[in-house]
């Protein structure tokens, strides 16, 4: 017996992003819980005063100010120069980080494949809405990034990068997150897609991301086999082989063991949720067998990640 761990053969954009989904995604935008400072003018309201459309405040004119923003009506009534201040519309930094460890390369459907599809869909939403999109692969303690993507025309480039990635080796979640946090990507939203079954733990890495002021969204993806060990092969006496460490566990999948395993997974997920809550990180767990279109268009909107 063996569980299908091979990634599917993805060769083109359509393999990652269903064309029928594109129209639906174009109507969506990412929604951060924080007012984040962008780098470029964009389509997102910022706390910074700037050249946006929404009026924010007045302030006295100072030498050098742009005369176009002087409120001449007030000058006529008060004979003093006041400058109109508008809310700046800035872009949003969106970082989509995928766990690239071998543990993601398992399950039916393959967790890494589903992760890449979700990343592509969310990235497309970001590109369409003129956000600065960064794709990152967390692997072997490092963050392999494709940054500086903006605009619809970078879609193909993002897709090619995702297709080229493989899940292998370890994650090194802590180091990879620190590496990502130290990268000069500006502030924004970070979506971390992983199964979070990490021997080294996940708290330190999430803390590093959240500590940089990013709006972090932890998306936990688990395969059906992980949610229910009885799924797939029915043989009760199994030798479980860890995809990363290659360590083995011999076990008999009795009702008691399966029941206990489910209870432990629930405890693990509860601990992850608690950690995320403590760090101000949004969290969501999905099954890799989920209908990811429905997940994007309904579940993430309910979670407030998309609008």
């Amino acid at each position: 017996m063996s569980v299908e761990n091979k990634t599917s053969a993805m060769t083109k954009l359509e393999d990652l992003l269903d064309p029928s989904l594109v129209a639906s995604l174009e109507r969506l935008d990412l929604m951060s819980r924080k007012m984040l400072q962008g780098r470029m003018q964009g389509e997102r309201r910022s706390r910074r005063r700037g050249q946006g459309m929404d009026f924010a405040d007045f302030r006295p004119y100072a030498a050098g100010d742009d005369l176009r923003f002087v409120d001449w009506n007030i000058y006529g009534r008060l004979d003093r120069l006041f400058l109109k201040m508008f809310l700046e519309e800035e872009d949003l930094g969106l970082v989509i980080a995928i766990d690239g460890s071998a543990s993601m390369n398992s399950g039916t459907p393959n967790k890494f494949d589903v992760s890449r599809r979700i990343a592509m869909a969310l990235g497309y939403v970001g590109l369409v809405n003129q956000h600065r999109v960064t794709l990152a692969l967390l692997q072997d303690g490092r963050a392999n990034c494709l940054s500086g993507l903006r605009g619809r025309r970078r879609t193909a480039e993002a897709a090619s990068w995702l297709i080229a990635q493989n899940a292998a080796g370890t994650c090194g979640f802590d180091g990879a997150c620190r590496s990502l946090a130290s990268a000069r990507l500006g502030r924004g939203m970070v979506i971390v897609i992983s199964d979070y079954l990490l021997r080294e733990g996940y708290e330190s890495g999430l803390r590093a991301l959240a500590g940089r002021g990013w709006d972090v969204f932890a998306l936990q993806i688990l395969s059906p086999e992980e949610l229910d060990p009885r799924t797939g092969d029915q043989s009760p006496d199994v030798r479980l082989v860890d995809s990363e460490s290659k360590s083995e566990v011999e076990i008999t999948l009795s009702n008691t063991v399966v029941r206990e395993q489910k209870r432990r997974l629930e405890s693990f997920n509860a601990a992850l949720r608690e950690t995320c809550l403590k760090l101000g990180v949004r969290h969501m767990t999905i099954d890799s067998a989920v209908d990811y279109q429905k997940f994007l268009l309904q579940s993430l909107r309910k979670q407030g990640l998309l609008k």
């Binding site: 063996s2 006496d237 860890d242 460490s245 008691t256 395993q261």
Partner: protein, 662 residues
């Protein structure tokens, strides 16, 4: 409880139980399953198997259940049986009683005792065969069916199918019971394979002969059965000791002297049970009812007080009825009881015949006696005349049924049946050698038909011919100095020789002389057919004289079987007679005319008609109590296998309820 093959079970247990333990200790051969992470599985320490070849034995319910199953199966292999059943070793002889009393229907479901005996015998044999492939060899079994005579139905064999077939083929008879010939037959067969020396050499190792008697116990000669030291006799009883029986003890008919066309019939009944019973008697002639009792007759119990001289006996006669020709009278007692063989009797009545008797010599006593007999045609000649006629025609004597010679010289004994008084015929086998004066009678053969119903102890002979007959002659009357009356054959003549003249003794003044003379003429001339044929007993041999030159002789039994016979010297011999009823002899006489004669066979033996099964058997070596067989031989291993199957179901339930593992 006895274990037939304990060693087999122990060996099996010693092999399979450690094997099961080893299997549980061996590491499971598990299916590889790649998963993303074993992070959450690591803590299932109780299910983690060590990577070594062996692991610590953990006592799970399934393991204990499987151990129990294996131990039970090992116990089943030991073939436990209930106490009281021991498989005999060596050779076993099954004596199955097929006598008349075994036809009593007092077994279960209205079966006869013989059916029950066969069923018990088969059950016994099958119980010996049991035990499966690990059992010890079953005993060699020989089956002997016996009644008045005995026959080996199957010699020693271990083939259960052949034994069963042989037992099932045993048929009922109406004969009396004699165990002696059966035991002699068994002894002969059990030692036939060995020479005397071999038998002596093997006596130390050969298993004793195990004889098992399956019978109702009504064997009168058991008192004479002496067991040898290597013989063992056990008895399985068939039948109920309390079965009552009433029957016809005798039935007869005779033509009246004054009117031979009229028949007088009489019947004697017998009640063997302790209580009184009421019975009706009917007499039928060739199927037509001709006489019956007006109302049921009360038969007093055998131990009860009644008007009859013999307790339980009742005699009756019927009004004369006409029957000019031959026929068969059947007497039946109504209602019938469990033993029906003696509830019916048949009487064969022959056509009226006249016996032709030639008397040679002058003896007033003999002449007057012959003349007094009914249906006799007497021709009397002197000795001289007799010799002349014999010399002239050697076949002259054969034209008479009986030739009686009194003190005549008989130079040539021609064919025929002779009753000779005084001078001996000139035949070498008699070996006459002089005269023996003054003799008293020492003994006589009272069971011979000629000597029956007579006392000879008071006979004193003054002058007798001294004879020393050869061994093929039988002495009917033995005097103090030699035989006085002998019976034998010489060439084509049957001779009843009285070695003295009646007038040289006091015999003519005694009743035995009258009985002897009449019975001798009846015996020699088969005179019974002239009046009514006497009833024969089952087991006897039918001997019937037919005219010389008769052909196509066929004997028809009561069952309807037709058996062709070839008469030897004018006599048809058939037997032994196995069943009651009418035996019919048909033949063509020398003139080609068909002749038919009937012989009635009835059971009247008191011992055989007492059908109450014996409480115990009394043999010279002690009392023999009945034992049970067959059903006490209860094997337990099928029950154990049943329990094992039930436990397997429990194990299946536990296994699946726990999801494939505990």
């Amino acid at each position: 409880m006895t274990l037939l093959t304990p060693l087999t079970g122990i060996i099996a247990a010693l092999i399979v139980v450690p094997l099961l333990v080893a299997l549980y200790m061996l590491r499971l051969r598990r299916t590889r399953r790649d998963i993303s992470s074993t992070l959450l599985w690591k803590s299932h320490t109780e299910d983690v198997r060590a990577n070594s070849l062996m692991q610590r034995l953990r006592l799970s319910p399934l393991f204990l259940l499987q151990c129990l199953l294996l131990l039970l199966l090992a116990a089943a292999l030991m073939q436990p049986i209930l106490n009281g059943w021991i498989r005999p070793s060596g050779r076993v002889v099954l004596f199955i009683d097929q006598s008349a009393s075994m036809q009593t229907r007092d077994a279960l479901n209205g079966a006869t005792r013989l059916d029950e005996a066969k069923r018990l015998a088969i059950a016994q044999v099958e119980s010996w065969q049991g035990g499966g492939i690990f059992a010890a060899s079953p005993p060699e079994v020989m089956v002997i069916a016996f009644a008045q005579d005995a026959s080996v139905r199957i010699p020693f064999t271990t083939n259960p199918t052949r034994i069963r077939e042989a037992i099932e083929a045993i048929e009922s008879t109406d004969q009396t019971t004699q165990i002696g010939p059966a035991v002699a037959l068994a002894r002969a067969f059990s030692s036939e394979q060995f020479s005397e020396l071999e038998a002596e050499l093997k006596s130390a190792t050969v298993s004793p002969l195990d004889m098992q008697l399956i019978s109702d116990g009504n064997c009168p000669d058991l008192g004479q059965l002496t067991l040898r030291k290597d013989e063992k006799l056990s008895w399985v009883r068939c039948g109920n000791p309390d079965t009552p029986n009433q029957g016809i003890s005798a039935a007869g008919a005779e033509r009246r002297n004054d009117d031979p066309t009229l028949i007088n019939a009489f019947v004697a009944l017998r009640n063997e049970s302790q209580t009184a019973a009421k019975r009706e008697v009917q007499v039928r002639s060739n199927g037509t009812l001709i006489a019956s009792t007006n109302e049921p007759i009360t038969l007093v119990g055998a131990t009860g007080k009644g008007a009859t001289r013999v307790p339980g006996a009742q005699k009756m006669s019927f009004a004369p009825f006409a029957l000019a020709n031959s026929g068969v009278l059947s007497v039946s007692m109504i209602p019938e009881d469990a033993f029906t063989t003696d509830d019916r009797a048949v009487i064969a009545i022959q056509e009226q015949q006249t016996l032709r008797v030639l008397l040679a010599g002058n003896d007033a006593a003999v002449e007057s006696l012959i003349n007094s007999l009914s249906s006799i045609s007497l021709t009397q000649v002197s000795c001289q005349e007799f010799n002349k006629r014999v010399v002239a025609d050697a076949n002259w004597t054969e034209s008479f049924d009986v030739v009686v010679c009194v003190d005549c010289d008989i130079p040539t004994l021609t064919a025929g049946r002779w009753l000779i008084f005084g001078k001996p015929p000139s035949i070498s086998s008699l070996n006459s050698y002089g005269v023996q004066p003054r003799q008293a009678v020492r003994t006589w053969k009272s069971d011979h038909k000629v000597m029956a119903q007579s006392q000879f102890s008071d006979v004193v002979v003054d002058n007798a011919v001294a004879i020393a007959p050869t061994s093929d002659w039988s002495s009917l009357l033995e005097g103090s100095k030699g035989p006085l009356i002998v019976l034998g054959r010489s060439d084509k003549a049957t001779v009843l020789y009285v070695a003295f003249l009646p007038m040289d003794s006091n015999w003519p003044f005694q009743r035995s002389f009258v009985n002897f003379t009449g019975q001798s003429i009846e015996f020699l001339g088969a005179l019974g057919s002239a009046i009514t044929s006497e009833s024969m007993e089952p087991g006897a041999t039918l001997r019937m004289r037919v005219a010389r030159g008769s052909t196509q002789v066929v004997v028809t039994t009561p069952n309807g079987d037709r058996v062709s016979q070839t008469p030897i010297e004018g006599e048809v011999v058939f037997g032994p007679l196995r069943n009651v009823g009418v035996y019919k002899v048909d033949y063509l006489n020398s003139a080609g005319k068909p002749v038919s004669r009937s012989v009635a066979v009835n059971l009247s033996d008191p011992a055989e008609c007492n059908v109450a099964a014996a409480q115990q058997l009394n043999i010279p070596s002690g009392e023999l109590q009945p034992k049970a067989i067959g059903f006490s031989a209860f094997t337990i291993w099928p029950l154990i296998v049943l329990v094992v199957l039930s436990l397997l179901l429990v194990e299946w339930f536990i296994y699946h309820h726990s999801g494939g593992s505990t």
